[in-house]
């Protein structure tokens, strides 16, 4: 009986338990949906937790305006297919409203600007809990963050003021103005997510699978999709490659990897032999400094 309860079943059970705690403890929760595999997995888990009822929270997408069109289309289809509420708020509108300086330069990133839009949408809907797909294996600062992560009214995370998290008791009590970020798949690794996607046959946007694409080869050797959002210079090395994306963030700072993998099975095989961790291979922004993620989290980032 329980001998058939595999580690993926354990991870799933924990995630569903956490999602139900969110529904039980909070007045106005939301699920932050990026269109990436982690948040698609979260939606799948949420359906398991609450069907045949409706999800007790809307899906919220912070649209940087730099997304891949395939991801936006997938997002809209997913919300329609499950009949769930989708709220989209655009970084562009925040920039205009708050007079912010847009990303600039060759690869203008709006990654940091997302935080402003996120805080706006939390205020607009008075969300008290935001469910996100972050995993502890992604990065060292995340490895220390709780599953229920308390944020003050500025969205700030204080690593020294974290609440101890015991057994599977989650303390989501907050004062007015504070909110909680909840990470139900904290204990999953990248490989676990892919194995689960395979087991559950979860549909993903096409850009996760190998396709031919025009790319810029950066001086560090990373491949960046050519989109309207980046500036091309005459000296740029342009290449046509068979690539897939391992994460689907902002198109200006999410690099592609060369890969012939066209199925989830192929991808799992690649990960098993891959020796470059996910964020390192594809995120330009984390290279900036050793404490980059810690700093962004303290400022209200996911």
């Amino acid at each position: 009986m329980s001998t058939h309860f595999d580690y993926l079943d354990h991870l799933e059970a924990q995630a569903i338990h956490i999602l139900r705690e969110v529904a039980g403890q909070f007045e106005r929760p939301a699920l932050l949906f990026s269109g990436g595999k982690d948040s698609i997995t979260l939606v799948h888990l949420a359906l398991k937790a609450f069907r045949p009822g409706k999800l007790p929270f809307p899906l919220v997408h912070i649209d940087t305006g730099h997304n891949f069109p395939e991801v936006i289309q997938f997002r809209d289809e997913l919300a329609a297919r499950f009949g769930e509420q989708l709220i989209v708020r655009k970084v562009e509108d925040t920039i205009r409203r708050q007079g912010l300086k847009d990303g600039f330069g060759k690869y203008p990133s709006r990654n940091a600007l997302q935080t402003y839009t996120l805080l706006e949408v939390i205020e607009e809907f008075e969300f008290d809990a935001c469910i996100g797909g972050a995993r502890r294996d992604e990065e060292k600062a995340r490895a220390k963050e709780r599953i229920f992560s308390l944020r003050d009214e500025f969205g700030q995370w204080d690593p020294k003021r974290q609440r101890p998290e015991l057994w599977d008791i989650y303390n989501g009590s907050i004062r007015k103005g504070e909110n909680v970020r909840v990470f139900p798949i904290s204990n999953w690794t990248e490989l676990d997510v892919w194995s689960y996607i395979q087991q559950e046959n979860i549909a993903l946007p096409e850009i996760y699978f190998s396709h031919r694409r025009n790319c810029v080869v950066t001086p560090a050797g990373q491949l960046l999709a050519i989109t309207e959002h980046i500036r091309l210079d005459p000296e740029d090395e342009i290449a046509v490659r068979d690539v897939r994306f391992r994460t689907v963030g902002d198109a200006t700072c999410t690099a592609a990897v060369e890969s012939p993998a066209t199925t989830v099975e192929d991808i799992i095989q690649e990960i098993l032999i891959a020796k470059i961790s996910e964020r390192g291979a594809t995120r330009l922004d984390d290279r900036l400094s050793e404490a980059a993620m810690e700093d962004r989290k303290k400022n209200g980032y996911f």
């Binding site: 329980s2 309860f5 059970a13 338990h17 139900r20 045949p52 015991l166 599977d168 961790s277």
Partner: protein, 422 residues
């Protein structure tokens, strides 16, 4: 493949982070780009050696002070098993973090420095391991390379630890001599200790039997959320969503809804929207009951012939985690999984001396203190003694105003409290 969750505990400079770094490094869980960063960071250090502890010391304050200040979770997989490590800090004021990591652990690795042997922190960590009911212990005697791989030194420390463990009723202890820095007996067998014939640390972690899940205990289920779609298609649907915390439920079981005490029957069990004949811990499920009764979040559903305790006067071991001491008369919120009740501290029976394990009279519990308290709750609590069921006997105390988590509690029955430290 199953999962082993373990915690590492030791004093400052016992080499915990190095040990974890070594496990990750030697089992090829460290990727090239992380290794590159590591090499770059290690170059900034005085001796320029590859510093494996940097793999876990993630936060800036830790790098500056050279200590680990919070629980870090790390993951690795071998052909045999998947591992989740909670790296608990050794620094004395952060003991609460060890309690946090210990609450979900199947096994604890307690590190001692071969030069120092059993020290005060070892007592504290072992006390926590005992209180939190961690089923298995590894005493890893580290830095054997600094005592010329002395067999005599290792056995002397092992003997001293056995004496300590006896006082705490700790069982299932495995002793392993290692050098995390040099790699002896962590992943690779040591060439320097021909006298040691046991497994390496990793071999032990891969093969040690994990305590069977709470499946054999009496079934306990707590309602987290009531699913009521109220749609045309599901007009009369009313399902109680929650996780089976221990034991097995079968369709047709006579059950009781607590604390109200109403008896009814399970007419359907759903797992992932499929009706099943039986479900087992820790599965998330949806229960349907025969009678239309008032059941809400936090209520416990148990089999009528195997009921938990229901009481308002409680006795519990507490680990106090707040800067502000706990005193009799303090009012707090008690959160036991999905149930929350108000509680008042009636008395502090004793505080445990973490070195001698003596019971000392005291009128307060301070940060990191452990002691037995009596509580009175506003509504009855449904529970088992923690020693009997880790899943229904643990709770946290929450400050009424800041909502900070200020204590971990392990419920006792009057009888187990007396037996505890002999």
């Amino acid at each position: 493949m199953n999962i082993l969750k373990f915690i590492t505990a030791g004093s400052v400079d016992d080499g915990k982070s190095t040990l974890i770094g070594r496990l990750l490094f030697d089992s090829n869980a460290v990727s090239h780009d992380v290794l590159e960063t590591l090499e770059r960071q290690s170059r900034n250090k005085a001796d320029g050696e590859l510093d494996l502890s940097l793999l876990t010391d993630g936060l800036r304050a830790e790098r500056e002070q050279g200590i680990t200040i919070d629980v870090a979770y790390k993951y690795f997989t071998t052909a045999r098993r998947k591992f989740i490590i909670a790296d608990a800090p050794g620094h004395v004021q952060y003991t609460r973090n060890m309690v946090t990591g210990a609450s979900n652990a199947d096994l604890a690795i307690i590190l001692v420095d071969a030069r120092q042997g059993v020290v005060e922190q070892t007592h504290r960590h072992s006390l926590v391991a005992s209180l939190m009911g961690i089923p298995r212990i590894v005493l890893a005697v580290n830095k054997l390379d600094l005592v010329e791989y002395s067999e005599e030194r290792f056995y002397k420390i092992a003997a001293a630890y056995k004496e300590l463990a006896e006082k705490l009723n700790l069982r299932n202890i495995t002793f392993i001599p290692i050098s995390a820095l040099a790699g002896d007996n962590v992943v690779q067998p040591s060439a320097h200790m021909p006298w040691y014939l046991g497994p390496t640390l990793l071999e032990h972690l891969e093969t040690v039997e994990i305590e069977p899940d709470a499946e054999h205990d009496a079934p306990r289920f707590q309602v987290q959320y009531v699913i009521r779609p109220k749609s045309n298609e599901w007009h009369d649907y009313r399902g109680y969503a929650g996780s089976l915390r221990s034991g097995v439920f079968r369709r047709g079981d006579r059950v009781v809804v607590l604390p109200a005490g109403i008896e009814t029957e399970i007419v359907a069990i759903e797992v992932n929207q499929v009706q099943v004949e039986e479900a087992f811990a820790p599965q998330p499920l949806v229960l349907h009951l025969a009678h239309d009764i008032d059941v809400s979040r936090g209520d416990t559903i148990a089999r009528a012939d195997a009921q938990p305790a229901v009481a308002q006067d409680l006795e519990a071991m507490l680990c106090w985690m707040s800067e502000r001491p706990l005193r009799p008369g303090d009012r707090l919120l008690l959160r036991q999984n999905s149930a929350t009740v108000k509680a008042i501290v009636k008395s502090i029976e004793y505080r445990v001396d973490v070195h001698s394990f003596d019971q000392l009279a005291d009128d307060k519990l301070q940060l990191n203190d452990i002691g037995l308290v009596r509580l009175r709750t506003a509504q009855p609590l449904v529970f088992d003694a923690y020693r009997q069921n880790r899943h229904s006997g643990g709770f946290i105390l929450v400050h009424e105003n800041t909502y900070d988590t200020v204590a971990a509690g392990m419920l006792e029955t009057a009888r187990t409290a007396e037996l505890q430290f002999g």
